[in-house]
């Protein structure tokens, strides 16, 4: 059974990716899980300057979901490129650098910085972070801005370019097409939905940042619909994510049209999930005589 797949020029041995922001830079993860079960890992969203992130509380459990308002806490691109990536590279797993910026100039600068690192296999342009004030999600809710941001990165980065989209829009297909026109080789979807929780005892929002991003099984139906829509509307591969906690979940995304899947919240609950999901996909395929993952990508609409 051949699990290999392609993400816009990046070949993966296995379709399971660590979602950005739930794997850090691997330093803690490797103490609890085995990185080699990932086809690739996407690092925590990185900005040019270091960011301290948002005030706590930063997480809140909701029915089958998780709200987070981390706010892109990261040590800045220089430290990531100089220290984090060389360390992570030792595990020989393709590294996807997830980047975030507030302007096209910044996106271009970031892409240029990462282009100089020998350790980056692909860039993932985060035009969908709901937890930062300037930029962030704004790029992902307008087709024009999404196009411009993608183009800016495209000019400074020759390798595989992934654009990560937000579901907080009326028509994802339009944004997806804009990203592809701007030069995206692949699309990641979805980032979190914007949500919040209120503590009825204090009568105040639970999160320090008031709103946060909703992830986990609660959003799986929305994520599947996005993958279904976008994968039929564009010709580049799609990385599907949103609530994947089992091989069954991953298979739903693949059949909806995802060429690879990413696990975010699921990693927080079970560091061994990548192994379980990979093995489960394999067993499913083998029990039905499916010889290659590619046979079932988009099977629900093909």
């Amino acid at each position: 059974m051949n699990l290999s797949t392609h993400i816009g020029g990046l070949a993966l041995e296995n379709p399971v990716i660590a979602a950005s922001g739930t794997f850090g830079y691997g330093e803690e993860y490797i103490k609890a899980g085995d990185v080699s079960w990932f086809g690739a890992v996407s690092i925590k969203g990185t900005t040019i300057a270091p960011r301290a992130g948002n005030p706590p509380p930063r997480t809140c459990e909701t029915p089958s979901g998780l709200l987070n308002s981390i706010g892109l806490e990261n040590p800045g691109a220089r430290v990531v490129i100089g220290q984090k990536l060389p360390w992570l590279a030792r595990f020989s797993v393709p590294i996807i650098a997830n980047i975030s910026a507030v302007s096209c100039e910044e996106f271009s600068e970031l892409a240029g910085m990462f282009a100089k690192s020998p350790h980056v296999s692909a860039l993932e342009v985060n035009v969908s972070c709901p937890n930062v004030k300037a930029g962030g999600i704004a790029f992902g809710t307008s087709a024009d801005m999404c196009y411009e941001a993608t183009r800016a990165v495209r000019k400074a980065w020759k390798g595989p370019l992934i654009v990560k989209l937000t579901p907080n829009v009326a028509d994802m297909r339009a944004i997806a097409k804009a990203a592809v026109e701007g030069g995206a080789d692949a699309l990641s979807l979805i980032n979190t939905l914007v949500g919040m929780a209120i503590d009825i005892h204090s009568m105040r929002p639970v999160l320090g940042n008031i709103t946060g991003g909703l992830s986990g099984p609660a959003i799986k139906p929305v994520a599947l619909r996005c993958v279904w829509e976008v994968s039929q509307a564009v010709s580049v591969p799609v990385i599907g994510m949103g609530g994947i906690c089992s091989a069954t979940d991953a298979l739903e995304f693949i059949m909806a049209g995802a060429s690879a899947v990413a696990i975010g919240t699921g990693l927080l609950i079970d560091p061994e999930l990548p192994r379980k999901v990979t093995q489960g996909i394999k067993e499913y395929c083998e029990s039905r005589g499916i010889e290659s993952l590619q046979e079932i990508v988009g099977a629900a609409w093909r």
Binding site: G21, T22, F23, G24, E27, E28, Y29, I30, K31, A32, G33, D34, K44, A52, G53, P55, P56, P57, R58, T59, C60, E61, T62, P63, S64, G65, L66, N68, I70, E73, G208, G216, P217, A218, C245, T265, L267, L268, I269, D270, P271, E272
Partner: protein, 274 residues
């Protein structure tokens, strides 16, 4: 190369009991965790297959028994997760991720200068393994332990026989009448510690920790505190469980991996959440 120090174990519940009221304890068969766990570390316990509640729940180790291959936790029912756990029965298996957090060992300093533990309420539970290790290594040990009333004091087992345990109850039903911090202050002021400069380790509600910090500052004693925070992962990947750095330093520490034990001067206690 297996770099894993944290294990996700299918642990059998050896014993589960209702201590009293909403307080429970259980003993879990988890040799991989028991073998390497340090006092003040914690584990993250999965509640079952449902996605609601979704996240695991963190609990400090109140017992570490490498010889028997078991660990213990003690918990108060405060919400849905802890309620579900109270319904479990001996014999069933639960998924336990650990050991987590930095923990605390008994080092040269403690052995030479002694150790003072200050616990409020259920905060005594995670201090028990530390006390046991201190006694084993023959460090001088004093324990200050307070609760609302005599009936809310947890059994401190053999501790009382092996070292000084100073009890305080708010209603005066046992020991000192008042808060444990009042008792601590009184004993320190009375010179109970002589000239020594023992390390103080404290675990309990935030207002108590804040008060202990003031007292230790006043008496020039080094203080370590054990913190709690809302945790999503418990093993350092999500950056959800942060506490602000102190002393004008920008940014945050993660309670789950940088802590849960911190030097009191490193963190902004006033702004801890959880």
């Amino acid at each position: 190369m297996d770099l894993r120090q944290i294990h996700d174990v299918d642990a059998r519940i050896v014993r589960l009991s209702n201590i009293r009221g909403n307080l429970y304890s259980m003993c879990l068969e988890a040799p991989e965790i028991a073998r390497t766990a340090k006092p003040m570390q914690f584990v993250n316990i999965a509640l079952g297959d449902s996605t609601d509640p979704l996240l695991r729940r963190p609990f400090s180790l109140s017992g570490i028994h490498p010889d028997r291959g078991t660990i213990g936790i003690t918990w108060a029912v405060v919400g849905r997760g802890t309620q579900i756990m109270a319904g479990w029965q001996a014999g069933r298996s639960v998924r336990v991720l650990g050991p987590l957090g930095n923990g605390l060992g008994i080092d040269r300093l403690c052995i030479d200068h002694g150790l003072v533990l200050v616990a409020g309420g259920t905060g005594i539970a995670p201090l028990t393994p530390l006390a046991s290790q201190a006694l084993e290594k023959e460090a001088e040990l004093q324990v200050f332990y307070g609760a609302r009333s005599a009936s809310e004091l947890l059994d401190t087992g053999d501790l009382g026989a092996a070292c000084m345990v100073h009890l305080a109850t708010e209603d005066g039903s046992v020991g000192f009448g008042g808060l444990v911090t009042g008792l601590l202050e009184a004993r320190l002021s009375a010179g109970a510690l002589g000239n020594g400069r023992p390390t103080v380790v404290s675990c309990g509600p935030k207002p108590m920790l804040n008060h202990v910090k003031q007292i230790c500052n006043r008496h020039g004693l080094p203080l370590l505190v054990s913190l709690e925070a809302r945790m999503a992962c418990g093993y350092g990947v999500c950056q959800g469980c942060v506490v602000p750095r102190a002393g004008g330093k920008q940014g945050y520490y993660r309670v789950c991996t940088d802590g849960p034990v911190f030097r009191a001067e490193d963190i902004e206690l006033g702004e801890c959440t959880g």
